[in-house]
Symmetry: C2
Subunit: 350 residues, 2 copies
DNA sequence: GTCATTTTGGTAACCGGTGTCAATATTGCC
DNA sequence: GGCAATATTGACACCGGTTACCAAAATGAC
């Protein structure tokens, strides 16, 4: 029972009450709150005792005003994938759990003209210590510049380093995509299709690079007809599936740049009575809930999104985190994604 | 171009700067900010002009301190469904868009012992104006009592009224489930299975009631073997599917209490080569992304979650919202869910 | 024109913390 | 013991707004 029950009407005790009770000045209490090192053990104990007795909780608004900084960090995201956002968010919360920080969430409308202005207004009004930028908006350099300009720290999350390690946490998507495609090749696949991500997305480019690398290693090439455009949406997967699976000699395996599009391709396969994985292997990317909710379960690449949230928070506000299991200076901020094998992949028929 | 570009180092202008420029006292500026009525048109214009020129943004921390209240509202959620949380969140943000409010997000671990204590600590530390409780934690009366005790307003979101209208926004799930089941019956289905939600969840109970109502109306009953337990997870859907579809006389249609379980049932049908919807119709609930990402697309019930977010915010903090399209006093806080027909439903065979 | 009443603007105190810097222990060293 | 160096603590202004209260100006009644 650490929580002291206060009568509903009873006012919250202030630092002055604590100071009076402990017989010290409010500044000393402030020092205890902020874990100043220049304190006698005896004084500290006395103050802590008084805090405990009164059930004192420092007023964050007052602190924020005095510190000229809010104890808030902002999570800026466009929402391509709700589960990703929430997992990341959970990671951030894991990291700031025992700190004084709280998390502000702010969806951003990537498309809109006023986007930059909106974010500026938001940051000016809330003045968070820092901002975390989730992809795809993390790829927007103007946003990073805006944070810089406003003196708001920032960390960008990406599928490959977007910035120096102080400002970026990323995963090694390219390598893992290559690994996944190598697995297809090892099974005997030679006609492998590709469904691209949206133009201009770094994540899409990385996945494509990984795919191409694996193909090149094996001396295979990608016919234009096997290379379908996409935009990370289910409907794009449907279109790509229609296109690739209507070819006279369709691919025996298709790598899709994300799970939703893979689900679309799989739907087309079902509609065309093409057996998955017997006649067609499919791989996606993200390990979204969809990956395990479709049948057969989708092989995919999981990026360590929650862990990236933890890492991002530690990178953003190391000085506000308790006992901060510090991020190694020499760390480059790259975390490992994993290729996950499920039932959607098998050797090609005969 | 409302945003004024400030040099990076340049300090944020304060109310004093505005007062000086406009040639009035800070009190007058404060009156303008807070839309006081006792002001000459001329004075107000002058102050607004100065604010515009300086790009002044009132410091929310200072206001919060002076007002003795934070301009924050908290969203407390356990995460059964990421998309739901995010959609609701979006609705809340729509509602508070032009206010001074910001949204704090706080996942809650329903299972953990310290849950109540954690939430208490959070609320005491952040002191938000109010809290929004998403299901399933909205069903926890202790949480509501805690808010009451701490003087934090709250609104509970539920599948049926959980509280008086001042504290609750809900949808009419029961009716719409009944409607969906009636649709099955109208198509000719007589052997209809049911996959329940988790025990103790209000939402699960409501969906079950709706299902039973429709059956009763048609003079049908639910054999025990057609009534499968579930917990809203995909794996529960798999188990339920295995059970129901292995019966000598399996149901021709199955209503699942949520989409994930419906996806599980559908996977089993695919594995057993049972044609959906030819030999088996399936209906889910939630209209989650999964519903449209599986094949065939799932008929389901969509609850107006984003709109509920808007409504919840309006109910929680009507006094902080601009021109608040006020919630009608006579409104009971119930919004309408919708039955959505997709490809997973058809008449029973022969 | 004078007095009472209503509007408006100004001053000072305050919200609950923190920074600065000086004042007061405490310790080390000769 | 005396003095310098160092460790602790406190006084006070200040963060950027708000309210309380008062004074000045404007308006209306006689």
């Amino acid at each position: 029972m650490t929580a002291q029950k206060k009568g509903a009407g009873g006012k919250q005790p202030t630092i002055n009450d604590v100071a009076a009770l402990a017989g010290v000045s409010k500044k000393t209490v402030s020092r205890v709150i902020n874990r100043s090192e220049f304190l006698t053990e005896k004084t500290r104990k006395a103050v802590e005792q008084a805090i405990e007795t009164l059930g004192f909780v420092p007023n964050p608004q007052a602190r924020a005003l005095a510190f000229r900084r809010n104890f808030l960090i902002a999570l800026l995201h466009d929402n391509p994938n709700a589960q990703t956002v929430l997992n990341f968010q959970q990671g951030v919360l894991d990291a700031i759990k025992d700190s004084d920080l709280a998390l502000l969430v702010r969806p951003v409308d990537r498309g809109s003209d006023g986007m930059l202005g909106d974010v500026r207004t938001f940051l000016e009004k809330q003045r968070p210590i820092g901002a975390l930028l989730l992809p795809p908006i993390s790829e927007n350099d103007d946003l990073a510049a805006l944070c810089e300009d406003l003196g708001v720290r920032y960390v960008r999350i990406g599928s490959a380093p977007l910035d120096d390690a102080k400002h970026c946490v990323s995963s090694n998507d390219r390598e893992v995509v290559a690994e996944a495609v190598r697995a297809l090749i090892a099974l005997g696949h030679r006609r492998i299709g590709f469904v691209r991500g949206p133009v201009g997305f770094r994540s899409a480019a990385e996945r494509e690079k990984g795919f191409m690398e694996a193909l090149a290693e094996a001396g295979l090439d990608l016919p234009a007809s096997f290379n379908a455009p996409g935009n990370y949406r289910y409907t794009a997967g449907i279109e790509a599936g229609e296109a690739l699976l209507s070819l006279p000699e369709p691919p025996t395996a298709i790598f899709c740049s994300n799970d939703e599009m893979a689900a679309g391709v799989m739907s087309v396969a079902h509609a065309k009575r093409i057996d998955v994985p017997g006649a067609l292997s499919i791989i996606g990317f993200d390990d979204s809930p969809t990956a395990t909710h479709i049948w057969p379960a989708l092989s995919t690449v999981r990026w360590p999104i929650r862990e990236m949230g933890v890492r991002a928070a530690k990178t953003l506000v190391p000085d506000f985190l308790p006992l901060a299991t510090k991020v190694d200076e020499r760390d480059n901020g790259v975390l490992n994604s994993t290729f996950i094998q499920r039932q959607s992949v098998a050797p090609p028929q005969s």
